[in-house]
Amino acid sequence: MTVVTASSEGPPRASERGTGTADMKTALVGLLASRIAIAFLTLGFVSVAVFVGTEILPGDVAAAVLGQNATPEAVAGLRHALHLDQPAYMRYFLWLVGLLSGDPGRSLVNNLPVAGLIASRLPNSLMLAGVTAAVSVPIALTLGIASAIWRGSLLDRVANLLTMSVVAVPEFLVATLCVIIFAVHLRWFPALSYADRIVSFAQFFRLFALPVFTLSCVMIAQMMRLTRAAVVDTLRSPYIEMAVLKGARPMRIVLTHALPNTIGPIANAVALSLSYLLGGTIIVEIIFNYPGLARLLVDAVSTRDMPLVQACVMMFCSAYLFLVMLADIAGILSNPRLRYR
């Protein structure tokens, strides 16, 4: 209660009985709206940080593009063409307006529109992220909940050991081992995961099996451990003891008593893990030669292609904020203290 009353004028509790659900609804809508507003505000700060960050990177793009033999006049001309001679705040606003209108500018390296470059990679990244999420989330939640129910059992201990080892082993090792075993020796799957067109489910499966497996290892391990911790924590509450003393069996205790109280923390664990799937897949993309956004970003950094770097980073930040916001909203909606005040 104290969390939220600071901002609302909150009538005394005793008088709540009379006032209907309308007040509660507006309070809830207000809470959600403020949460969404915070996400946008954060995104605004992020855009400043991204811009300043790329601004202080050393090196001059115009000189870099034109090479060592360029005349000072040519460099100055290019700087003017790229708005590099304008003050930083002007360039920030130009950039921001461009971003908001869907035009993050042109690549400094090949003069192609950044939007088009991203559009060519985004579906690939979303596909990889989507398939990995679809595989790893259900497995992670089931394993996490199961090992919380049967704490200390063989299942719990094996799952604990496996997730610990998977988190500890670097991703590139998992990916490389996958390639060596399944692609080189067994020849079950191709070593490179790219095709122009997907024609059948079998082909789809063959293409995605290894990268998705590699990514899922870490994803499942992280999410499972956080889920297990959240459920175990809830299982220590007095109301769980009360349910045991009412004669509830373990399955019922977890499903009807513990889980509704862990939606918030679990949603946050899932969001944190999933947000990694857009920008953090660089190793998988390189080893499996998969054309995703992470590689685009790394390439852009190495060529100092600032508009592309900025757009990619904004993209990843937005995705991250969006996922975390969804998790928070799930947490708010699953908490009756916030739903019915």
Partner: protein, 606 residues
């Protein structure tokens, strides 16, 4: 007839932090006859809850039943499988826990939780269970019985939740109900109402019950037989009347003695009557939340509050949870700056915030908190905890400081060797003594005691009260003694102030509390404190109870009376609208009430 419950030579151990197994229940044997209410009474650590839970074949994490037999209704409880135990729990034996707020699942509506055991055990169809629950709600005098089940736990008051727990236990008509301190977390005026409906429900059903409590006066109302426990073993078993009138065991005698504390307060010497007050609080408004344009906080807790404390005397402030007692201490200490009004020390106004006060001003007012253990830094030995204020206020170092620490420990009757120990190595009572010594280190003229004995067992708490009184005689320090417990306040205070929803209701000498007329709230508060005799609960008039049941305290608007909704002698249209006047009664006390002395005498005589 065979006993319903038979416990023979029960032994339970618990593993402590170091992995050692300690016996927490030792060789306990007793029986419970059908239709009987048996109380397990003892202080914390006596094993009473452990024993009660073991009747359901349940132990908390870390503890284990290592020996003995428990027979329930002819069946061996300790030989049952998990599945058999589950079918016993909630069906044949139901449990009513202490903290209703924690024992309800915050994410589920109340009705679902109340009827859950009837659905788990398939005792009756859903609709029948819901109808039964509503009937129980009505029987347990819950407001709005048809609708209350749709609400969530956080939307319902503590006293109502406790009654909902009882409904949850009774819905399957179990053969045995275990009540585990069901009213300990409640305010007295709420407790009395809950006790009454519980007692009625038990009596009408002829329910067999095990009633766990630390409070003899409460148990005296509920139980037929009392089992006195200490440190995991039984000290005495007898009928309630006999335990109260002729206890045989020394420990039982000390429990009885501590339940009715003697008066310790040293009446202030007559010369001090004219001395200027050590502390004066004048027309203070304080609260929480953002302030409005006039600087009044969104949630005002203290409204136009004034008091004065004479040097070397004790002023008791009593009220129920949420009435603003602790806020008062925080305002005086400067932890919560008042929005309005002033706090004067020795006649000099104090800055509202502690950050703006001088070291000398800070030194003169010290505070001791309720939670003895959380107030002490677990990473510092006692000697350093006490040494810090000596350095800060008096600039004592080295040998001088060490000697003074030893003196302080001696003052609170602790051995000097205690200086090297850490807070985790000493008991709760000892910790509270250390807190007191830390306050004394500053050589204050006033100590704010905020519920200093509430977290302690009765006997330990009584010793702290003795110490407070002795220190006052020796050092002449004044106390502001904040408590929710009338008997402790009466035991140590010269003057008593009764607080309700941030307003002073009555202020007078300790003796004036025993004289009528009283403010209607004082009357309710005093008559709600359980007395240590059987039949007290049955003799309470219904009228004051009905009003008490209305529920939560509400801050009245403006200067109007905040007790209006619960007041049995209220005048609608006046009490809830007009500013309440202060009246001086002929017994020497002041009250805030619309009723005149004559009216109050007449109305309470009826």
């Amino acid at each position: 007839m065979a006993p319903l419950v038979k416990v023979e030579n029960l032994h339970v151990t618990a593993r402590d932090d170091c992995g050692r197994n300690l016996a927490i229940v030792k060789d306990v044997s007793f029986t419970v006859e059908p239709g009987e209410v048996v109380a397990l009474i003892g202080e914390s650590g006596s094993g009473k809850t452990t024993i009660a839970l073991s009747l359901m074949g349940y132990t908390r994490a870390g503890s284990r039943i290592v020996g003995g037999n428990i027979t329930f209704d002819g069946r061996e409880v300790l030989a049952m499988s998990q599945r058999e135990l589950a079918s016993l729990r909630g069906r044949d034996i139901a449990y009513v826990p202490q903290s209703a707020a924690a024992s309800f699942n915050p994410a589920r509506p109340l009705l679902k939780q109340v009827i859950e055991s009837s659905q788990i055990h398939r005792v009756m169809p859903l609709a029948a269970a819901e109808a039964k629950a509503v009937a129980l709600f009505r029987e347990l005098v819950l407001p709005n019985p048809e609708k209350v089940g749709e609400r969530y736990p956080h939307q319902v008051s503590g006293g109502q939740l406790q009654r909902l727990l009882a409904a949850m236990a009774l819905v399957t008509e179990p053969k045995l109900v275990i009540f585990d301190e069901p009213t300990t977390a409640l305010d007295v005026t709420t407790q009395i109402e809950v006790l009454r409906v519980f007692k009625k429900a038990i009596k009408e059903r002829g329910t067999t019950a095990v009633y766990v409590s630390h409070d003899l006066a409460v148990v005296a109302q509920m139980a037929d037989r009392i089992i006195v426990l200490r440190e995991g073993s039984i000290r005495e078993v007898d009928a309630t009347g006999l335990i109260l009138s002729s206890p045989k065991n020394d420990y039982t005698k000390s429990l009885l003695a501590a339940a009715e504390p003697q008066v310790r307060a040293a009446a202030p010497a007559t010369t001090q009557q004219t001395a200027p007050p050590v502390l004066e609080v004048r027309s203070v408004i304080a609260g929480y939340g953002t302030a409005d344009r006039d600087g009044i906080p969104a949630v005002p807790v203290l409204r136009d509050f004034s008091l004065a404390i004479k040097p070397g005397s004790t002023l008791g402030v009593i009220g129920e949870s949420g009435c603003g007692k602790s806020t008062l201490a925080r305002v005086i200490a400067g932890l919560l700056p008042a929005a309005r009004g002033e706090v004067k020390l020795h006649g000099m106004p104090l800055p509202r915030s502690a950050a703006e006060r001088t070291r000398e001003q800070l030194r003169r007012i010290q505070i001791v908190f309720q939670m003895a253990d959380t107030a002490l830094n677990p990473a510092r030995p006692i000697g350093r905890i006490l040494g810090r204020p000596l350095e800060f206020y008096h600039g004592f170092f080295g040998d001088k400081r060490r000697r003074r620490v030893a003196e302080l420990l001696d003052m609170v009757r602790l051995p000097a060797t205690m200086a090297e120990r850490y807070p985790s190595e000493i008991s709760g009572g000892q910790k509270q003594r250390v807190n007191l010594a830390r306050a004394l280190a500053a050589e204050p003229s006033l100590i704010l005691c905020d519920e200093v004995t509430s977290a302690l067992d009765t006997v330990v708490g009584a010793a702290i009260l003795d110490l407070l009184a002795e220190l006052q005689r020796e050092l002449g320090v004044a106390y502001l003694f904040i408590s929710h417990d009338l008997s402790t306040v009466k035991a140590v205070c010269d003057e008593v102030m009764i607080l309700y929803a941030g307003q002073m209701m009555e202020h007078g000498s300790r003796g004036a509390l025993h004289q009528r007329p009283l403010h209607p709230y004082s009357d309710l508060l005093i008559s709600s404190v359980p007395e240590l005799r059987q039949g007290w609960l049955d003799g309470i008039s219904d009228k004051c109870l009905k009003e008490a049941a209305v529920g939560a305290a509400r801050s009245g608007r403006g200067e109007a009376c905040s007790f209006f909704e619960r007041c049995p002698v209220r005048i609608p249209g006046r009490c809830d609208v007009e500013p309440t006047p202060l009246r001086h009664l002929s017994k020497g006390a002041d009250i805030r009430c619309q009723r005149t002395e004559e009216e109050l005498v007449e109305l309470t005589a009826q």
